[in-house]
Symmetry: C2
Subunit: 195 residues, 2 copies
DNA sequence: GTCTATAATGAGATAGAC
DNA sequence: GTCTATCTCATTATAGAC
């Protein structure tokens, strides 16, 4: 026997990526074998090497795609207006995007240590690009006297960490809707940076 | 040859735990082999099984000890006084303790997925015990009208996540001292929960 | 594009010597 | 309490058939 009837690389490729993302996030990069990924997709382990040169490249591609998508999505969603409106939009966007991409977000924070130095630098650079967009909002508000943050760099890190935390406890269908969570976090962020 | 001259279990035990904690935090539980841990300590892999029945037990013992130590340390450090004083103390304590136990903190958030359900429940229970101490402070302040948090549960999670974030960027000898970081985060937390 | 088969390596854990 | 040696099994990755 040879190739499976009906196999198509433009279908198998995305399915491999989705399975790898899910399994890496659930069990950790090192704990997941190529065999597990292949089994999840319904192919043999050797077939994965038609789509990636090795396991680490699979991971770094997932992370890079995720960070690219994040930045593109924010740049498309970011409103004009004053710092307060832009900050509110950022808070709501970040929570919503993270919940929609929980596995990728988790990976992008937890599995950086499995990357070689050059791949690590690429992902970290993309993350900084994204964080700089938030810091720019804080700096703008600081300039007009609207915000009073003791340190825009730390405030950026604090806000991102706080918002990322939502992913650790939020469950769909739980006590609070996504919109309600957005309201509550926006209230806390707004007050934290207020003059 | 047999046992090494001068070997002592009360020295080797702690060294094994320290090596495992460091290596698990750096590379991830699944990525670290028993041979690596043994090499770090200077014993053979087989010797590790004198101290632990298996690898997962090594991990869960590290996590349990860490959470116990955290709760004991806070209960010893927690001041009396009003909610504002207690909240300030909590912020500064949490940042300092986390920086002093960075590897264990990282493990306690990242490697829970490598635990069986019963071990997982134990660690999660301890974490909730700790978080409840913060929530009690917020509830007390809420009751006297000193704080105005829209949801004490979410505020608890938000504050912890924000403070935990310090560990991801803080470097000893960097731009800011620990005390300065404590000041800045306290400023943001104070405003975020203020009435 | 997927298969089977296999190479090369390393894993967790155990047995028994000293 | 640590050693060497070993069992058993899984791993990543490749080769070549179809």
């Amino acid at each position: 026997m040879a190739r499976k009837p009906g196999s198509r690389s433009d279908i198998t490729g995305p399915r491999i990526r989705a399975a790898a993302r899910r399994l890496f996030a659930r069990h950790g990069f090192a704990a997941v074998s190529m065999r597990q990924i292949a089994a999840e997709v319904g192919v043999q382990a050797g077939a994965l090497y038609l789509y990636t040169p090795d396991k680490e490249t699979m991971l770094v591609d997932l992370l890079k795609d995720h960070m690219d998508e994040l930045i593109v999505a924010w740049d498309a969603a970011a409103p004009g207006g004053g710092p307060l409106e832009r900050l509110q939009a950022f808070v709501r966007f970040h929570i919503a995007f993270n919940l929609d991409h929980a596995d990728a977000v988790f990976l992008s924070y937890m599995e950086l240590r499995n990357l070689g130095p050059e791949n690590f630098a690429v992902i970290e650079g993309l993350r900084r690009d994204y964080e700089n967009r938030l810091e720019a909002i804080l700096t703008a508000g600081q300039g007009t006297g609207l915000f009073a943050v003791p340190d825009t760099k730390l405030a950026t890190m604090a806000i991102i960490a706080m918002l990322n935390g939502v992913n650790t406890w939020y469950r769909e269908g739980g006590r609070l809707s996504r919109a309600a969570v957005g309201d509550i976090y926006w209230d806390m962020v707004r007050k934290a940076v207020a003059a």
